[in-house]
Amino acid sequence: MPWTRDEMAQRAARELKDGFYVNLGIGMPTLVANHAGDLDITLQSENGMLGMGPFPWESEEDADLINAGKQTVTELPRTSYFSSADSFAMIRGGHMDLSILGAMEVAENGDLANWMVPGKMVKGMGGAMDLVAGTPRIVVMMEHSDKAGNPKFIPACTLPLTGRNVVDVIITDIAVFERADRKGAPFRLVETAPGVTAEDVKARTTAAFVV
């Protein structure tokens, strides 16, 4: 039985540590914030905010206060605002602890593709290339297979890359993979959803991984 999106977020939250500064990508990764529990986590929004609070109460939205997904948010007692240059100085300079983001494809060497489908989608990479290049630990959350049923954790990315050799942990709806370092360690299957076996995962994955 595959994990729900919320269960995936719960699992991703176990990558958090007390005191961490974290950037959560648009979509599923934003759910991780709901599962931080007692951990003291500071959320960064790359459009220029550290210490992002929850959505505002109805009628308290402020057009000048949005997150990187362009959603209205709120501030906290710890919040600071800064320019985009300062925001990415923080990211590129390796000052953030962790970033969790979505993916179209992850390769067995840690390459990530999540920004472009040539000839079809021309939205852009936004801050994703900076986040994966600058953040010491990158967790990817994605469905194990795409809508056509094809695996997304694959031997080599087919789509244009967001970053080379940047993914540390992959959380899908059926499995969690992790690698010990970015220096050649293979991804290891460290967890499976209830009722999912390692064999099941192998059958649905084209990337090589160890068990």
Partner: protein, 235 residues
């Protein structure tokens, strides 16, 4: 003193616009965008523009207004996903697009404003955006060189200004505006309020006056793209 205060966008932009020019704009999504200058640029009819802006507005608002009228020849942006007309013009080859990672774009504006013609970053190495660019090893790691950007004109949106041109931004409406303000040969700032001399705390000015040549009070729609709220429970 040399007057920096103008009555509106049209007068503030007078004499600054020409076909084929490069304009650097502040704003992230529709937050903190120079709405008034964009409208005045549209009304001016200037064309063949290269616009450097993180986003391209939406259909019918923000920089989307200049796309509708085909005044833009080329965009340098990190994300244009909210704009159907953009996508159409780009896929049909009518519009040039240079994708630039968001942090690289912010740094390119800052570098241009700071007299730095090039800098190295690890962002984008091994991806499409690094193709054809110079690479260099530092301490065993590969970096790509990116160029500073200086525009003929920068248009920015701030919260408050004084008549000297000092600017203060509000919350996440700051975003690209401070760098854009440094990256124009001429910088025009639109603000919600021009405050009396000395009303801005000198420790807390985001953009010092030297970067701003013209300033005016605008009127702002401040459209929200994604209105996300929590519902209050009724007791």
């Amino acid at each position: 003193m040399a007057n920096k205060v103008y009555s509106d966008a049209a007068s503030a932009l007078e004499g600054l616009l020409f076909d084929g020019m490069t304009i650097v704009s502040g704003g992230f999504g529709l937050c903190g965008i120079p709405e008034n200058s964009i409208a005045a640029i549209r009304a001016s009819g200037v064309k063949g523009l290269t616009v450097v802006s993180n986003n391209a507005g939406v259909d019918g608002f923000g920089l989307g207004l200049l796309l509708e009228t085909r005044q833009v020849k080329k965009m340098i942006s990190s994300y244009v996903g909210e704009n159907k007309e953009f996508e159409r013009q780009y896929l049909s080859g009518e519009l040039e697009l240079e994708f630039c990672p968001q942090g690289t774009l912010a740094e390119r504006m800052r570098a241009g404003g700071a007299g730095i013609p090039g800098f190295y970053t690890r962002t984008g190495v091994g991806t499409l955006v690094a193709e054809g660019k110079e690479h260099k090893e530092f301490d065993g790691e590969t970096f790509v060189m990116e160029r500073g950007i200086v525009g003929d004109l920068a248009i920015v949106k701030a919260w408050k200004a004084d008549r000297f041109g000092n600017l203060v931004f509000r919350k996440t409406a700051r975003n690209f505006n401070p760098m854009a303000a440094t990256a124009g040969k001429v910088t025009v700032a639109e603000v919600e309020e021009i405050v009396p001399d000395g009303a801005l705390d000198p420790d807390l000015i985001h953009t010092p006056s030297v970067f701003v040549q013209r300033v005016f009070v605008g009127t702002f729609e401040k459209r929200i793209e994604q209105r996300t709220v929590r519902k209050r429970e009724i007791a």
